[in-house]
């Protein structure tokens, strides 16, 4: 914890702002139900009410409080993005490390497999898979992860290849060090910052990807994420001819943009810190 605070202190003003924003959204996602006066799944006022003292962000066509929906959506977006990032980083770094460490035929097979996944067009395949598996948070996480690990695998492999060329690895191997020893002592400390950065970047991307899937109607209709709120709003006939878009469309959109921007700003901050570009 102390380390993180020192980290934030040393960050640039923009980085600090991004971090504050992210913390706010995380708090929102955790304590969402306590922060909103109204339930997120029951109508609590008239339909399509403009923002007022009562309903801070107004209501949707069913009269459900939008602030409550955004709070709840934050949680779902967070769960999905973190889930995707964890899974993708897990798979990606595992394949990258094995491939870079072992080299030879194992490296060849794993990397060709990775290439194959990269070649697949992402969105169409995601739509197909999304439709095929059916909409649920779990399935969305799996589908999104399937396409996010490839970059991570390649980056970790590249880093590992440079580490493996170092003489100290050769010497440690000469002394008969096991993979476990070499990984824990020599590799982990160098590979971890990269994985953290990948994690953050994947989180940002997963939020957008989930939103776009939901926006296309492939999300889980029972778990109302920000993308789904947006999807519902856009589905409303002639939304742009009415003033409703000012709160109904704008609020989930702004929430998404703020989250993604803050995450990518933190990512950039880390990139500068570790002095590498991805």
């Amino acid at each position: 914890m102390k380390k993180i605070i020192i980290y934030i202190r040393s960050a640039s003003p923009i980085g600090k702002a991004a971090f504050l924003l992210l913390t706010a959204i995380i708090i929102l996602s955790i304590f969402g139900s306590q922060l909103s006066r109204y339930p997120h799944d029951l109508s609590s006022g008239k339909s399509l009410e403009a923002p007022s003292k009562d309903h801070k962000l107004g209501t949707d066509d069913l009269g459900i409080d939008l602030w409550a929906q955004i709070c709840n959506g934050a949680r779902i977006s967070m769960i999905i993005s973190l889930g995707v990032a964890t899974l993708a980083c897990g798979i990606g770094s595992f394949i990258g490390i094995i491939s870079g460490y072992k080299g030879g035929i194992i490296d060849y097979i794993l990397m060709r497999f990775t290439d194959m996944v990269i070649v697949l067009p992402q969105l169409p395949t995601m739509i197909v898979l999304g439709a095929f598996f059916g909409p649920s948070i779990k399935n969305i996480i799996i589908v999104l992860s399937l396409f996010s690990w490839t970059r991570i695998a390649r980056i970790t492999r590249a880093k590992l290849l440079t580490i493996m060329e170092q003489d100290y690895i050769k010497i440690a191997k000469g002394y008969g060090a096991s993979f476990k020893y070499i990984y824990l002592n020599h590799i982990q400390s160098q590979i971890l910052p990269i994985i953290v950065l990948c994690f953050i970047k994947t989180t940002g991307k997963a939020i957008v990807a989930e939103a776009s899937l939901s926006f296309l109607g492939l999300g889980d209709p029972t778990s109302k994420s920000w993308g789904l709120i947006l999807n519902r709003a856009m589905d409303f006939n002639g939304i742009y001819f009415t003033p409703y878009w000012k709160w109904w469309v704008a609020s989930p959109l702004i929430a998404i943009v703020l989250l993604v921007v803050s995450i990518s700003l933190i990512g950039r901050e880390l990139e500068n810190k570790y002095d590498f570009k991805m």
Binding site: D167, Y168, K170, I171, G174, Y175, N185, S189
Partner: protein, 569 residues
């Protein structure tokens, strides 16, 4: 068959000091044939002069055991009066040149005449003639005859001493340190004089000296003496070119007359006077083992005309490679990086592998240390064949130091962790023992070894310091062979000099052997005992460093040296 002139058998000399008996010579045997010259070399205190004095019967307050047989007569059982018949007439001694050897109140003439009077009983005229004759024999002007000892220079006094010794035409001349404390020109003069006298009169000589060039010029056979024991015996030229005892090699390496290029390092002084029953040299020996602390080695033949007193039969070979070959495939053709490479490294020796870049030096080093697999050939470490990195994984094995200090040490590691790494991987010792070993190794490479120093991160250290850390990491395994692959090529001149001196000092102190790989010829000339020249994967020339640097035979070596030393070979 030549006639035995002097035979010393199992000679033991003990001095009676106030309360104890001190043995100065412990069972020395050698034989001097007629017309032969034998040299006795050794550090001071090894008993050289005691032997000379005992032959002359000049030792008082000492017990002499064993046999000294001169021409069939047992010298050490004769009484002083009988002995006087032989002294000067048969056996004469040239004393070590000091001011007090000559009587300060008598002139030179009187002193020489005194000898002649006592031993030859000639008439006065004959004596005068003989003195003049002697003076011309040693190239001294007659005017000095009437001067006193203190009026003469060191060289002149030495000549007077020689003249005195020659006065009665002895058959055996014992010469004790004939040239010490003389300048170069006088030295040369004395050596030439002794040489011509020896030739002309066909006298036998026993030359005692710690100066190897003197021995080299005057003698045909050498006895190497240490603490009253003969450790090696052999023909002078052979012995100096190829010493077979660690002590002899140490003596030769400490001589700047022989090693004109090399840095000088004496034999490490680790004297603990309690020697026990074991080999007298074991405390300072680089290849000593437990056996040596208990068993006294006997002087025995290891080849024709060469005797060595060592439990291991002389200097052992640490590393031997036989016909190592390695080819790399490139564009469908085979390129030999290493072709039938055979290398020999003896205990405590620095062998340099030199050659241009791309000649296969590093490939050879990698094969020996086990990082590369050779296509054919075998490697023997201490007589046993080794495969892969197995020699690297044990204490007293082979260790390697790489060229790039930044790549060789993980910058994220603390100094302690970096040095401790081999111990941790191989699970050697307890946690405290490891820490102690690390501290010792850091102390050896002159890095801070307190707790603060141990916690320094390696990425805050400079290249030279990191190279020290990687040396420490190797030393922690107490290697018997250290392979140093271009370890100084990335360092600035001052750091380079420091690292090299450090490494050479450690080598001298700990006695490990080193295979020093470099393209830096002046550097190799400074530190190598033995040189291998590599070109296109094969060894084109090998041998004693001095010989190769002075008289390279191979065309490629000649070209290399010509470029490097601007010498015309």
């Amino acid at each position: 068959m030549k006639k035995e002139l002097l035979k010393v058998k199992d000679l033991k000399i003990s001095y009676f000091l106030d309360s104890e008996v001190k043995e100065a010579v412990k069972g020395v045997s050698f034989t001097l044939y007629e017309g032969e010259t034998i040299g006795i070399i050794g550090e001071s205190g090894s008993g050289k002069t005691s032997i000379a004095m005992s032959i002359m019967g000049l030792l008082t307050n000492a017990k002499i055991e064993g046999k000294i047989i001169y021409d069939g007569i047992k010298f050490n059982t004769l009484r002083q009066k009988e002995l006087n018949r032989y002294r000067w007439n048969e056996v004469a001694i040239v004393f070590q040149n000091r001011l007090d050897v000559l009587n300060p109140v008598l002139t030179i003439r009187e002193q020489i005449e005194e000898v002649l009077k006592k031993h030859t009983m000639k008439s006065k005229g004959d004596i005068k003639k003989r003195v003049k004759e002697l003076f011309s024999m040693v190239n001294l002007e007659e005017k000095w005859l009437s001067s006193y000892a203190h009026e003469l220079s060191g060289g002149m006094r030495q000549k007077v001493l020689i003249a005195m010794a020659l006065s009665c035409n002895p058959k055996l001349l014992i010469i004790d340190e004939p040239t010490s404390s003389l300048d170069v020109l006088s030295k040369r003069e004395i050596i030439n004089l002794l040489k011509s006298i020896q030739k002309k009169n066909n006298i036998s000589m026993l030359v005692i000296s710690h100066e190897l060039p003197v021995i080299q010029e005057l003698t045909t056979k050498v006895e190497v003496l240490y603490l009253g024991h003969i450790l090696e015996e052999g023909l002078t030229r052979d012995l100096i070119n190829n010493p077979m005892h660690v002590y002899t090699r140490g003596l030769i390496n400490s001589s700047c007359d022989i090693n004109v290029y090399k840095e000088l390092w004496g034999i490490s002084p680790k004297i603990n006077l309690k020697s026990g029953n074991g080999c007298p040299f074991y405390q300072r020996c680089v290849q000593a083992s437990k056996e040596c602390t208990q068993k006294l080695p006997r002087l025995s033949y290891i080849s024709i005309e060469r005797k060595v007193a060592c439990n291991k039969g002389g200097i052992v070979t640490i590393l031997e490679t036989k016909d190592l070959s390695k080819a790399f495939k490139s564009h469908g053709s085979k390129i030999y990086a290493c072709k039938n490479v055979s290398i020999n490294v003896k205990a405590g020796e620095v062998a340099a592998l030199i050659g241009a870049s791309g000649s296969g030096k590093t490939t050879t080093a990698k094969i020996i240390s086990g990082f590369l697999k050779s296509d054919s050939g075998s490697i023997y470490f201490e007589g046993k064949e080794i495969h892969g990195c197995e020699a690297m994984r044990k204490i007293h094995g082979i260790q390697i130091i790489f060229q790039d200090p930044f790549s060789a040490i993980n910058g994220d590691f603390t100094v302690e962790k970096a040095v401790k790494e081999p111990l941790e991987i191989l699970n050697i010792g307890s946690e405290e023992e490891r820490k102690a070993m690390v501290k010792k190794a850091l102390q050896d490479v002159q890095m801070p070894f307190d707790n603060e120093g141990l916690d320094i991160r390696c990425n805050t250290l400079s290249g030279g310091e990191r190279q020290r850390i990687s040396i420490a990491r190797s030393l922690v395994m107490k290697p018997k062979l250290l392979i140093a692959d271009e370890i100084t090529s990335m360092l600035d001149p001052s750091t380079k000099a420091n690292i090299l001196r450090l490494l050479k000092g450690l080598q001298n102190e700990k006695g490990f052997s080193m295979l020093f790989i470099t393209h830096d010829l002046p550097l190799a000339r400074k530190i190598a005992d033995k040189v291998y020249v590599m070109n296109r994967g094969s060894i084109v020339e090998e041998g004693n460093a001095l010989e190769i640097f002075n008289k390279p035979k191979c065309q490629y070596t000649k070209k290399l040296f010509k470029e490097c030393f601007h010498m015309t070979v």
